[in-house]
């Protein structure tokens, strides 16, 4: 028997089939059927007519956007300082950023919860703030590292060329450094924005009464309403797909600045 190279791909195709294609098919089927197994658009219409669902979508988007912006505002200067510091300082700063990732996620959030309870008294007073804080705390490294990666690969002679052509420090940052670090920003934004839409574990652990998209799906599923839950999951998938397409086109524009930004 001849061993072909295609055969090496078989485990991957099986994986794809079992863990991606099949669940997706199940979700699609459930989303467009009712309890009796008949085709229906009720779930689809329901999504866009239920004020509760739409409100949660907007709230989720707000959480995700604010978290992403806050992460970006903290991460860019950090990554910039990191990329431009000497080797000794670099090791220390990188350690500070990466070390929290060594600790289990739920332990980290629990610790944050305790600190916040002491400071705020009752966590229910500031649900939005707490959620953004928890997510920022958790997702920040995923923003810093890809930006740091592109910034540290930036060819120093380009900045020298900009200075040579008369650009001051601010001007060469805006015209050279920033556009060339765009792939890192896009990659960081993707890695923070998408989980902030859905990661309701952080909300739950911070004793939060508010809902984001993830919690909504969870609540439908635990109430055994597989059909409405699947529809929300499907629509979320589409939103995420559109978002990825959009950020992907941004990276294509800046793709010539060498090297993917993903870790």
């Amino acid at each position: 028997m001849k061993f072909s190279r295609k055969a090496l791909g078989i485990p991957y195709y099986i994986f794809l089939l079992v863990f991606v294609a099949a669940p997706l098919a199940v979700i699609i089927v459930y989303a467009f059927t009712n309890g009796q197994g008949h085709f229906t658009a009720v779930n689809f219409i329901g999504f866009f007519t239920d004020p509760n669902t739409l409100g949660t979508l907007c709230y989720s988007l707000a959480i995700a956007i604010v978290t992403t912006v806050v992460c970006l505002l903290i991460a860019y200067p950090t990554a910039y300082i990191l990329a431009n510091s000497n080797i000794k300082a670099k090791a220390v700063i990188l350690m500070i950023i990466i070390m929290p990732m060594w600790i289990n996620f739920s332990l980290r959030v629990t610790a944050l919860k305790e600190v916040l309870s002491v400071l705020e008294g009752n966590l229910a007073f500031y649900p939005f703030f707490n959620t953004v804080l928890g997510m920022t705390y958790d997702f920040l490294p995923f923003m810093i590292l890809p930006i740091y990666n592109t910034l540290s690969k930036l060819d120093g002679s380009l900045l020298e060329a900009a200075a040579d052509l008369g650009a001051g420090k601010a001007s060469s940052f805006i015209k050279i450094t920033l556009p060339l670090s765009l792939p890192g920003i896009v990659s960081g934004v993707t890695m923070v924005f998408l989980p902030s839409m859905t990661n309701y574990v952080i909300l739950d652990m911070l004793y939060n009464s508010t809902y984001i998209m993830g919690s909504l799906i969870g609540s439908y599923f635990s109430a055994n309403n597989w059909h409405a839950g699947s529809m929300i999951a499907l629509i979320l998938l589409l939103i995420i797909g559109l978002f990825s397409l959009f950020t992907g086109s941004l990276t294509d524009d800046a793709a010539e600045s060498k090297g993917g930004a993903l870790l």
Binding site: D164, L165, G168, L180, E256
Partner: protein, 481 residues
């Protein structure tokens, strides 16, 4: 006020020491006239690029000053200097198209859009890339990128154009083409060009003036013909073109002896002067055996296209000859040379000198080794008092630990060993020049200073060696105390 003497740029005693302690440029003095095409030439690490970067403003001198039109610009940031640079690897902005790259400098100056468009069009015309405005950088070939890099610098009409090995990444044919084009642009524009290269042929082809550098210093400044025909030192001769280099001595008025023969020459030095004779391979003429000034046996012949490269062994010496006539290995030949083509320079003083100390027992110490020298030889005329104290020739008592002794030893008296620690000091070979019957080596020691060693055998660059110095060959002088 500063006197400019018609120089557009002047470097005065410029030194650059980096934060890691490496001194790349040492006390450089140089004046460049307006409109000149000047080339900094030297091996890698000679300080030529650092010098260029200091003129551009990317590196700041640690000492000395740089004057542009008589004004000190040493500490001005690059964006405030009326000079532009063509970078070694182009440094074109990858996220901008050709137009945006070239217009970058003009936009910084806030020129109106139509003026920018006109200038970009003109400069693209100059570099023969008309209509390339909308092209992305990544779609351009290496040669085209090179032209855009030149256009981006030239469009700002700089007073000086700096070029840092701009043709290094191009293939040979493209390089030759660009050399001629750059020369032509220089002629058309009349801007001062400062060009950095390690390629001596490129330097000879393009420049009005060549500055030969090594180890952070200028070895020679001159027109290409002068540098080629009248090299100021054996290093310059060896670096620029191929040379036969021999040690010799003046034996009479316009007569020199080297390579086992007596030659007529045109350089007048006192009889007995130690000299270095430099002969270009193309100037040596092959004659029938017995008819030349010296004779020898052909040891190898290589066909090089336009000529043969013939190596002739004459006694212990070796002569490289370029000739259009073929020769046969093993053949006996004579060699002669026109007196005009023999370039003679006074031999550099290559005596190695280093400073050693004395310990309490008057033993000479250097680099944690004791030099087993007789104190009577080291301290001639000194004596010891009844209680053992050291007295100088005037009879003053001196603390032996405060005395420095200068030790001198000739290059041919030092032996090299590949066994670390077997000699007085260890180092590595940082430079070598073949001198007819022996190699002259520069050994950079772990203590940071150089020793010159002559050896008839070939060692390799960067070989680690230990220097064995026989004490009987050393000469001692008592230094100040």
């Amino acid at each position: 006020m500063n006197e400019t003497n018609g120089s557009i740029i002047e470097l005065r005693n410029v030194t650059k020491t980096f934060s890691d302690g490496f001194t790349a440029v040492k006390g450089l003095d140089l004046a460049i006239k307006k409109g000149e095409f000047v080339t900094f030439l030297g091996p890698s690490g000679c300080g030529k690029t650092t010098t260029l970067r200091m003129i551009a403003g990317f590196d700041l001198p640690t000492e000395g000053e740089i004057l542009l039109n008589g004004k000190d610009i040493s500490h001005l940031p690059p964006n405030m200097r009326p000079v532009n640079t063509v970078f070694q690897r182009y440094a074109l902005f990858p996220h901008m198209n050709v137009y945006e790259n070239i217009a970058f400098g003009l936009k910084q100056k806030k020129l109106p859009k139509n003026a920018i468009d006109k200038k970009v069009e003109n400069v693209l015309d100059l570099v023969d890339l008309e209509g390339f405005e909308k092209r992305r950088i990544s779609t351009l070939s290496g040669g085209q990128q090179q032209r855009i890099a030149i256009a981006r610098a030239l469009v700002n009409e700089p007073q000086i154009l700096l070029l840092d090995e701009p043709l290094g990444a191009l293939d040979l044919k493209m390089r030759k083409e660009m050399q001629l084009e750059l020369k032509e642009m220089h002629r058309q524009l009349g801007i001062t060009f400062i060009y950095v290269t390690h390629d001596q042929e490129e330097a000879l082809t393009m420049s009005d003036k060549i500055v030969v550098m090594n180890e952070g210093r200028i070895l020679q400044i001159g027109a290409p013909e002068d540098i080629y025909n009248e090299p100021a030192s054996a290093f310059v001769a060896d670096f620029i073109g191929e040379s036969n280099i021999f040690n010799g001595i003046m034996t009479g008025k316009l007569k020199a002896r080297f390579c086992g023969g007596d030659f007529e020459c045109v350089d007048d030095y006192a009889v007995g002067t130690h000299i270095t004779a430099i002969l270009r391979p193309e100037d040596v003429i092959l004659t029938p055996p017995g008819e030349g000034i010296i004779s020898g046996t052909v040891s190898s012949v290589i066909f090089k296209g336009i000529h043969y490269e013939i190596v002739v062994e004459s006694g212990r010496n070796e002569m490289v000859i370029q000739s259009t006539k073929n020769a046969v290995v093993g053949e006996k030949v004579g060699m002669t040379i026109d007196p005009d083509n023999i370039h003679i320079i006074v031999a550099e003083d290559h005596t190695n000198r280093f400073s050693a100390g004395l310990d309490k027992n008057f033993n000479l110490e250097f680099n944690d080794h004791t030099i087993d020298a007789d104190p009577a030889m080291v301290l001639k005329g000194w004596s010891r008092s009844a209680d053992g104290a050291l007295l100088n020739p005037r009879g003053d008592e001196i603390d032996p630990e405060k005395i420095r002794i200068t030790v001198a030893i000739e290059p041919e008296d030092i032996k090299m060993s590949d066994e670390a620690g077997s000699g007085l000091v260890d180092g590595y070979i940082s430079d070598l020049i073949y001198k007819g019957d022996h190699y002259s080596y520069v050994i950079r020691t772990e203590l940071g200073h150089d020793f010159i060693v002559d050896d008839e055998y070939l060692w390799n660059m960067d070989d680690a060696v230990s220097l064995i110095m026989p004490v009987e060959k050393m000469r001692f002088t008592v230094g100040k105390h």
